[in-house]
Subunit: 222 residues, 2 copies
């Protein structure tokens, strides 16, 4: 178990009992989340956007169009705060105050850095595709030079990060425990519908292993 050192901004101000600094736990949440939310300040004004992400070791991979205000700022070294959130259950207490959600979340702080070498970009983009749909890259044709050139790839260190996790039943006030109110959790589950072939797919192209394996990928929350 590796402990990620807390910094003033990753030290939790509220619910310290929910704080978790285990690197393995942090990376698990990052890897499971379907999307992350990336925030930065442009001329002092906050910006936010949902993005799909990849991970290469301790680096978070973001990508998109160079026209994105937010991504362009990160490519120029702007400071970012990135959140990853999995919601696991509704938590219903006896009072409104003790309602909550069970969740696993991570916040990362760091400065963006644009990748400009082709090999590094291709590896980062492959990692991104693989994280979202494991096994998919080996089913595809290689990326073209034009595709690589059209894509801005930004990385960001995961070194300054921390998790927050709530689990378990509601924590009601002692004086409410014998009251007439139901209390408990309702778990949230993520599942998949049947694959929908593209309308332009030629007959006879079979559903590939990556699609068959997606159910396992989402089983642990997303």
């Amino acid at each position: 178990m590796t402990e990620v050192p807390r910094t003033p901004r990753t030290k939790p101000k509220t619910y310290p009992s929910r704080a978790n600094s285990e690197l393995e736990t942090i990376l698990d949440i990052v890897d499971r989340a379907l999307v992350c939310h990336v925030a930065t300040a442009v001329d002092g004004v906050p910006r936010i956007a949902p993005m799909v992400h990849g991970r290469v070791g301790m680096e978070l991979v973001l990508h998109g169009s160079p026209k994105s205000t937010l991504l362009a700022a990160l490519a120029n070294g702007a400071e970012a705060a990135v959140a990853f959130t999995l919601v696991d259950a509704f938590v219903l207490g006896r009072s409104a105050m003790h309602h909550s959600l069970n969740y696993r979340s991570v916040v990362v702080f760091g400065r963006g850095r644009a990748l400009d070498d082709d090999e590094g970009k291709a590896r980062a983009l492959d990692a991104l595709t693989e994280r979202v749909v494991p096994g998919r890259t080996r089913e595809l044709r290689p990326m073209s030079r034009a595709e690589l050139d059209a894509t801005l790839v930004v990385v960001l260190s995961l070194a300054e990060s921390g998790a927050k996790i709530r689990t378990g039943p509601p924590k009601d006030a002692a004086e409410d425990l014998d009251g007439p109110w139901w209390a408990g959790n309702v778990p949230l589950t993520l599942g998949l519908g049947a694959p929908v072939p593209s309308p332009d797919l030629p007959a006879g192209v079979a559903v590939p292993p990556s699609v068959r394996d997606l159910a396992r990928r989402v089983a642990g929350g997303a």
Copy 2:
């Protein structure tokens, strides 16, 4: 149909075809999202946190502990960017480039304002509980004065907001269409596990209507 006017920062720089400014659509996404992600800049440095939210008309309701750095900044009028994201499907194209997610997202820009009158706070907190678990407030005892005093409630106008929505199959390059690669979507579904009563629940307290109705609440994505 009401159109929300775009501003320079809600005008999409990328994928303008995904932009949507219909107020009804924006509010539907806000209301369905289990959590939102709230970003602000504190001394020029971005901060982000997942939060549960409520809505009263055109005002977004956030709440939490006064000890939260982010919420306290918003209570003092800081500018915020808030994102709401529903992920609907994996989109698998013939090339890595044409992989995507189908999603519905909203970004809101505005300044926070703390509520300080008890009636307004209680109404905002009720709206928050009702949005997350419809029908729940009428099953609970009223909030106590101490609970109300311990909770910081911040509102933020939804007037400056815009949605982005991707639907439909992958949009592959023309020259890839006859290739051997499977292409299509895999829908994501959100469901519920069976309710888990709190270990300290007295015998004989029945599962209430709000819990029985939760399946309908999450059916449209969350």
